[in-house]
Amino acid sequence: MKKHLNTLFVTTQGAYLAKDGETVAVRIEGETALRVPLHTLESIVCFGNVGCSPFLMGSCGQRNVGLSFLSEQGRFLARVHGPVTGNVLLRREQYRRADDLDFSAAVATACVLGKVVNSRTVLLRALRDHGDKIDAQVVQESINRLGAAARRLQEGLSLAEIRGVEGDGARTYFSAFDHLIVRDKANFFMHRRSRRPPLDRINCLLSFVYTLLLHDIRSALETVGLDPAVGYLHRDRPGRAGLALDLMEEFRPMADRLVVSLVNLAQLRCDDFVCSDGGGVRMSDTARKTVLVAYQKRKQEEMTHPFVEEKMTIGLFFHMQALLFARYLRDELDGYPPVIWR
């Protein structure tokens, strides 16, 4: 089994990454602030004004170290990747199956089912943890509706219908999301999902964590040899990582939980955010670091994978799911098993 390796996040503005022997050297104002051997890294994520030497880009491509560039706020800009690796036959099968609408619907059902069931678990958990502090009736109603959506998905729907169920599910879930936040309600609230720009602090956090998640899932797919751009639930659109977004659905509720606990445990405070005139909300540098540390710690926690029944770090779950998907394409599995969190 693959080992879960570390991710290097560079958030210092003006930093320059260079290859020094077999290591990455992070230079800040001419001084080497950090030197890490490349073989201990799975990916490098650069935020904002961070430079990178061409030789480092080359080595990252060669060794399959994901190198991504994000804006300072965490919006995805670009990524560097080396020669296309992996099995052509697998990729061809992936493209062929994407044209098959029945197959696409089967994959989409699995992904959306994972999302709906996991979202329901998040709400159930909130009800159990602090049912006395929140409006239990509203949350319970959302739980029931998500349960009904999960049952509907088992009826063998068409792609359009699945998308409908997904949209309804997301709306139901996010309408109850505000009840999950039990601390500092004046500043931390979530009335509806908003992005580009996020209009409140919770939306700002959610968008940021989703970007990190997408980066990891995309890298996992590429490592296995799949094309992250060709999806089943998410149809082709230039510049969109369809398959990565498909596989991300089941992990979203996990990211939501991370955001909720950051706020509820007071690891983030109201002044960690900057509101701009246009109504958009941005994170401060310290807040971004707090979130990155929390995300990285969460990825290092160990859990038993529900399908393969093996203990592994959560960071490796992405890789495992990509592998399972590849096996499904090769007809070694009857269906794609999404991760259902307990």
Binding site: K3, N6, T11, T23, P37, T40, L292, V293, Q296
Partner: protein, 96 residues
Amino acid sequence: MMILVSYDVQTSDPGGAKRLRRIAKVCRNFGQRVQFSVFECLVDPAQWTKLRQSLIDEMDQETDSLRFYFLGANWRKRVEHVGAKAGLDQEGPLIV
């Protein structure tokens, strides 16, 4: 697994400084310098074989010495740092 590499290179004889430099470079490629001639290397068995052989190739067995300490996967329980320049946890969150 974590391996602690420490070395002693005789620099008084000709070529000593060069050997010292090259040994340090090999160590740096695999791990983190924690003291002047002490490195902590996080490697898998294949990488370890490579690291060990590269070091042996660089050294002069007549005059220099290498010492390897095997700290395993649960190395955190076996390492304590006191004083300045605490090393960085290579498996912990890496943010600069």
